[in-house]
Symmetry: C2
Subunit: 328 residues, 2 copies
């Protein structure tokens, strides 16, 4: 540990979600020393959101010895632009949906001008995996986040891929089925329309409608079915629910086979709610990958589930951006 | 120019094709000072091929002042593995189809142990574009080679993407149509099965079979039609031939829209025989890209045709690997 680290041993990680904003103070070994959360919504102006954040942050900053102990801050946020430190047209944020918000700069100004970095949540997850998780030591891997949507963070030659504009790694919007399901982005057949949590629920509704097969899911109103319901039914041996996961895994495997010809990663790492279904999803995924992939890549890549469990994973990922920044 | 460059001002570039092997001696500004070629085939053992190569090479090496003037050598070859300097199971090479050939090492031994680098031909094209061509100054771009097959070379953050095993950038084997045309790789619906020169000829045959439309191509035997025939017919205003290029361009645009969500390149650069058709291909390609791509990428990327015209392009690309190597 050098003298600089001794003097400023912590970074702030902010996991900025659609509902909650979770702040953590993290040391260089990935230990969260203090944590606090506020609601993300309910502010008309970003300045009000930042002020409320700083009020909360000061409580945990004081707990670790004051602002002088803080080296940098990292933010993982929807529609985050790494190059500019901005959130751009984020549909789900009351104070960020209709413009470009310079969030990194706003936080830096309130925090004695410490360096503040920002990227989208899936990239933060990838940096978190590389720094603290199952991707430690890997130079070429792809993190795929399976939540409400499908996000991705790509690492090549040990570096995050941001592309020319900061928006690279939107693999959830790879077209898997021309003229397939309508996606939230307005286009058709995107991976996200099938393999997100909402996609899984949609697949279940389709299977229920198209067949007469018995299923525990028939006890629920079709429009209320969630991916969690499907997962619970599948774990009870429900055949239709199992087929939903098979279908989802197969399509994800097919997608990964296409990603392999691009960057030939040594591992695909899955992160987020759907991974809780474990082998239900992963077995058909790996089989489908090996069935679909170009011969030279067969049986090479590892398929891993994120080791960063629990609510702190996203905070750690965000904090890793702060470390990355402070090392430049 | 530093003293080292003054003393060793040249690198050797080898464009190792299925038919000919073209050697060039190139200076740091990309000027080819001397060039010679031998047949690639007709040797049972790689040692015989290397010996014949060295015999020819010595003629042009002497022309530029001897081996002391040569800094390094770069090779662009089918199935080339950059990490290992090997050619692996290249189906079209009599001396390289059934094993792993350490070609870089074999050449280095015969050339006073100068550094010798090797990569696949599409990666060589990408390095050539970055060093001497339309990609000078670009940090994020994708070169797509449209020849007998479809190859690609991907540059991210100013670095070639080789992946964990040296085989990244096989975008010709992206699945575009599940259960589509059978590809040479044994899988179905690959980009290469549609958008290579052979794919274009195949599309023409399909269009001729499925319709009764008049076409100049009906004067030819269906099985003899080449992409050149289609291009000539299209340039004479033949509607069916024009539709073949539209179809090809549209599918390429759709593919590029999927590549954009991966690495968000600032440019796509097209290289190889099919690009000679110019706007016939590029207009539908760019339109289709913007129709298919995720909103945030619309109208951002440039679509360029390689500026490295003529037979020397591949030699320059290969020589650039030599320069890259000698700068390490």
């Amino acid at each position: 540990m050098n003298s600089n680290e001794t003097m400023k041993p912590y970074v702030i990680g902010l996991d900025l979600g659609g509902t909650n904003s979770v702040f953590g103070i993290v040391d260089s070994r990935g230990e969260i020393k203090a944590q606090i959360a506020i609601k993300t919504q309910g502010y008309d102006k970003v300045e009000d959101y930042v002020n409320a954040s700083i009020d909360a942050l000061m409580i945990i900053i004081d707990q670790v010895g004051g602002l002088d102990k803080i080296k940098a801050m990292g933010i993982g946020a929807p529609n985050g632009n790494y190059y500019k430190g901005t959130i751009e047209f984020a549909p789900n944020l009351s104070w960020g949906h209709n413009g470009i918000v310079p969030l990194a700069e706003l936080f830096s100004k309130k925090l004695n001008n410490i360096p503040v970095g920002l990227t989208n949540d899936a990239n933060a997850a990838a940096i978190g995996e590389m720094t603290y998780g199952v991707a430690r030591g890997l130079k070429n891997f792809i993190v795929i986040t399976l939540g409400t949507g499908v996000g991705s963070g790509i690492v090549i030659n040990g570096q995050m891929v941001y592309g020319c504009d900061g928006f690279a790694g939107e693999l959830g919007h790879t077209t898997m089925r021309p003229d397939g399901r309508l996606c939230g982005c307005g286009r058709k057949g995107c991976l996200e329309a099938y393999c997100s949590a909402t996609g899984v629920a949609r697949t279940a509704r389709e299977f229920l409608e198209k067949t007469d097969d018995d299923s525990l899911l028939r006890a629920l109103k079709a429009e209320d079915i969630t991916s969690l319901d499907v997962s619970i039914a599948a774990s009870k041996g429900d055949k239709l629910a199992n087929r939903v996961y098979e279908f989802t895994g197969e399509l994800l495997g097919e997608a990964c086979a296409n990603f392999a010809v691009f960057s030939s990663p040594e591992a695909f790492i899955f992160f987020g709610g759907l991974t809780k279904s474990g082998d239900l999803l992963m077995k058909p995924l790996v089989k489908s990958y090996n069935d679909h992939v170009l011969k030279v890549f067969k049986d090479k890549a590892k398929f891993l589930i994120s080791g960063l469990e629990g609510s702190s994973a996203a905070v750690l990922g965000a904090s890793a951006i702060g470390w990355e920044l402070s090392e430049k």
